[in-house]
């Protein structure tokens, strides 16, 4: 009994110390820590506070093609041009994904204002390459600040590294394990290699030119997976739909285009089958759950991608504008103003982008 009393006294002392420290920390140091450890948090607060429509995306929003784009407007910039009467803000950072968007929703102000969230659905972020990316620990560290908890508690979590802090090697192992163990020839899919690991080995030891092998390797790693409800990112998206419903937020997903042409060129239907299935899976799942889904998955041509040798969603101005238009049409079909797309994508005649398909054709590689 005596011991319990002594422990209790010390416990109360620690609690008292915590609240006093929290008071001073919130007042003097927390804003500096936010600026230092979570540079995006300020942008999120501003975007939620000021936007009627908040666009949340990764690098696909702001990337541009240096060979062709005279105008470097982001997708959200184009949206603002199409809907000048609406205040559109954006939260964009490279390697953002649904897990982080979900945490950002904690920062939505409870001010009774009607908001629309436009969230990028990027198929690749649901695959093992992105899920087990080495950048994830720093993303998760930043995400500690996307919460309404006591500031000192957030600082303690930061000091104690209380977040998904797996190091790059651990993530690398999980990625290899995924490629080694997940069957690719289930649910009616046909694939003679069975797993990504075996497929990659075939690519590595094939007698095709190196250029092709590198590209095929990257495409298989990024797109050869089968989505289902157990996928972490899918679960995050599910949570987002539920949370937005609960908070009365209008939610719109837009499924990004994927460079299907090159996947087709490299491996024909063998790789495309997974991409098409995953795109349908995402579009159907969230339409059924009541979110608006804009499906731009097939609306692209290989020439519109900035990265020609590696699959990304870095799109040229023409495609960014088309995506913005499709989103705006879904949001406010009668409020779109006319913009002049012909001046928004004026190729620079001085430089020509080396296109992967030209190179592959020259090498005589057609599947």
């Amino acid at each position: 009994m005596d011991i319990i009393k002594k422990i209790l006294w010390r416990f109360l002392f620690a609690i008292g110390l915590f609240f006093i420290a929290n008071f001073f920390y919130s007042k003097y140091q927390f804003p500096k820590d936010v600026a230092k450890y979570s540079r995006v948090k300020g942008k999120i607060d501003t975007a939620f506070a000021n936007g009627e429509i908040v666009y949340m995306g990764e690098s696909s929003n702001t990337s541009f093609n240096p060979w062709t784009d005279t105008f470097t407007y982001s997708i959200s910039d184009y949206m603002q041009m199409y809907l000048p009467d609406k205040k559109i803000t954006s939260i964009t950072h490279e390697s953002f994904h649904p897990g982080l968007f979900l945490k950002m929703l904690n920062l939505l102000p409870d001010d009774g204002r009607k908001r629309t969230l436009v969230i990028t659905l990027n198929m690749r972020t649901c695959g093992p390459s992105a899920m087990f990316s080495g950048n994830e620990a720093s993303n998760q560290q930043e995400a500690l600040f996307y919460s309404q908890r006591l500031p000192l508690l957030t600082r303690i979590f930061l000091s104690m590294h209380y977040y998904d802090n797996k190091n790059p090697m651990e993530r690398e192992r999980l990625k290899f394990q995924y490629w080694r163990t997940r069957a690719l020839n289930k649910n009616g899919f046909e694939n003679p290699d069975g797993t990504v690991k075996k497929w990659l080995e075939k690519v590595a030891y094939s007698d095709r030119p190196e250029k092709w092998r590198h590209m095929a390797d990257a495409y298989i790693k990024e797109f050869a997976f089968i989505l289902d409800g157990s996928n972490d990112r899918v679960q995050d998206l599910d949570q987002m739909v539920k949370k937005c419903k609960k908070q009365g937020v209008n939610l719109l997903f837009h499924l990004l285009p994927a460079s299907r042409d090159y996947a087709q060129l490299l491996y024909g239907n063998r790789l495309i089958q997974y991409m098409d299935y995953n795109a349908d899976f995402l579009a159907n799942r969230y339409s059924k759950m009541g979110a608006t889904v804009i499906n731009n998955y097939k609306n692209s041509r290989s020439v519109q991608y900035t990265d020609q040798w590696y699959p990304t969603e870095h799109l040229n101005a023409e495609l960014r504008r088309e995506i913005a238009e499709s989103i705006c049409k879904a949001l406010h079909p009668n409020k779109l103003v006319e913009i002049h797309p012909e001046v928004n994508n004026r190729p620079n005649p001085e430089i020509r982008q080396p296109m992967a398909d030209t190179m592959l054709k020259q090498l005589g590689i057609w599947h």
Binding site: I3, A137, L152, N165
Partner: protein
């Protein structure tokens, strides 16, 4: 049971591995005790040692030694063995080097007749897996830990109070000193060629205190956690940076490993009783093995070998100079610290070329122009730690704290807690010794 649950939180597969090692060593211990034929005892002993070495080889050294050989490729083709290779290549089973050594020490003690084997497997498992010291030591001996583990637990206020002190100070060392220094040292090592020679010296100096605060902090946390259950673990550090020679240093640094090597490798190899040649041979073998134990990497082997060379230099040459004055003693301390600090370049570098670049830079051979920056608060924390640890505190920290008046003690605890809360390093740096 609790220890196994704790361990499985990280990777459930590793729990099976630890259980397997434990069962093998438990059985070998019993067989060694039962058999009266010396040759059979030896067979059981080597079966136990061999199985432990095989585990270490598969999970720790396979990739280093086998790399891309056809055998490695064949093993990676089978799902049954591929997971082992992946685990070994990317994430070492936590504490494998510690619990295998702890288990080997038990079997060796039984073989030597110094220990009666445990007949209850569960009780033996609790010895191998005792969670506070499972992942990074101290490597305990059976006779020291076992009796404490199976004595009825009676919470004592004195133990709880000391445990809290150890935990607070351990956290302070890890979170405030080691993690903050790690950020600076990592910044240097990410682009070491771009820094000036002065910055290289600074990074090397800071790393010496990072690794010390990190491992010393861990050891205090382990001792504190164990003391919450009334169990006293051995001290793993005893002011190593005030040592006057490398032999003395290794009596003060990672004491549980040094004594393990002394008892189970150095003495069986001949120790210091059979002349200088045998001694030199034994020392070099011990430090080579110690380097390899630290990591499956050439840099770690060089770290071990360099310690061996310095040890012999001190033992055969430097110790011959017999001077008795304060200045000479201080010089020896400085020399020992500096030599250890410089050899830590091997410990920190990932590759030989990287360590060689750092050594060149230490000698002024660098074109880098960047200066390493230390935040003021880190400088203050480090200064406080150095003054306390090297110059003021002579005993274990919980014992030292007892001397002070209540108000001073509590002010110190509060300051340390606040530092942990407010000034902890932001980037996650697992305990350095977790990788071993």
């Amino acid at each position: 049971m609790a220890s196994y649950v704790f361990y499985s939180f990280w990777q459930i597969e590793f729990t099976g591995l630890m259980a397997l090692t434990t069962v093998i060593d438990f059985s070998c211990g019993l067989q060694i005790y039962k058999t009266t034929v010396k040759r059979n005892k030896l067979i059981w002993l080597w079966l136990s040692i061999g199985s432990n070495i095989a585990m270490l080889f598969m999970f720790k050294y396979f990739d280093f030694l086998m790399g891309d050989t056809p055998i490695a490729k064949k093993l990676y083709d089978s799902n049954f063995t591929a997971w082992m290779i992946e685990l070994g290549k990317y994430v070492l089973p936590a504490g494998i080097s510690f619990y295998t050594f702890q288990s080997i020490s038990y079997v060796m003690d039984v073989y030597r007749g110094e220990q009666v084997p445990e007949k209850n497997l569960l009780r033996f498992m609790s010895f191998v897996s005792f969670f506070p010291q499972l992942v990074a030591g101290p490597i305990e001996r059976f006779h020291h830990l076992y009796n404490q583990l199976h004595t009825k637990y009676q919470p004592l206020w004195e133990d709880l109070r000391n445990a809290a002190r150890l935990l607070i100070y351990g956290l302070f060392l890890k979170v405030c000193i080691a993690d903050n220094l790690a950020e600076i040292v990592d910044t240097y090592y990410q682009n070491n060629a771009a820094y000036t020679a002065g910055s290289t010296w600074l990074a090397t100096f800071l790393f010496a205190f990072q690794v010390y605060a990190d491992f010393f902090g861990y050891s205090l946390l382990a001792q504190g956690s164990a003391l919450l259950f009334g169990i006293k673990l051995m001290d793993n550090f005893n002011k190593p940076y005030v040592s006057k020679s490398i032999p003395e240093f290794w009596h003060r640094w990672h004491i549980s490993l040094s004594t393990w090597f002394r008892d189970y490798l150095f003495i069986p190899l001949g120790g210091n009783k059979r002349g200088p040649l045998v001694l030199a041979f034994a020392v070099m073998i011990v430090f080579f093995t110690s380097g390899l134990w630290h990591g499956a990497n050439m840099t770690m082997i060089l770290f071990g070998v360099s310690q061996g060379v310095l040890y012999l230099f001190d033992r055969f040459i430097f110790s011959k100079i017999k001077l008795k004055n304060q200045v000479w003693d201080r010089f020896r301390q400085l020399k020992t610290f500096s030599l250890f600090m410089i050899t830590l370049v091997y410990f920190r570098s990932s590759t030989i070329p990287e360590s060689s670049e750092v050594f060149h830079s230490l000698l002024g051979d660098t074109a880098g122009s960047l200066q390493l920056h230390i935040p003021v608060f880190v400088l203050i924390l480090l200064a406080v730690f150095i003054i306390l640890d090297l110059f003021i505190v002579r005993e274990r920290i919980d014992i030292w704290f007892q001397k002070f008046h209540f108000s001073i003690r509590w002010a110190a605890y509060s300051a340390m807690i606040l530092c942990v809360w407010l000034l902890g390093g932001a980037i996650n740096h697992p305990f350095v010794y977790f990788q071993f």
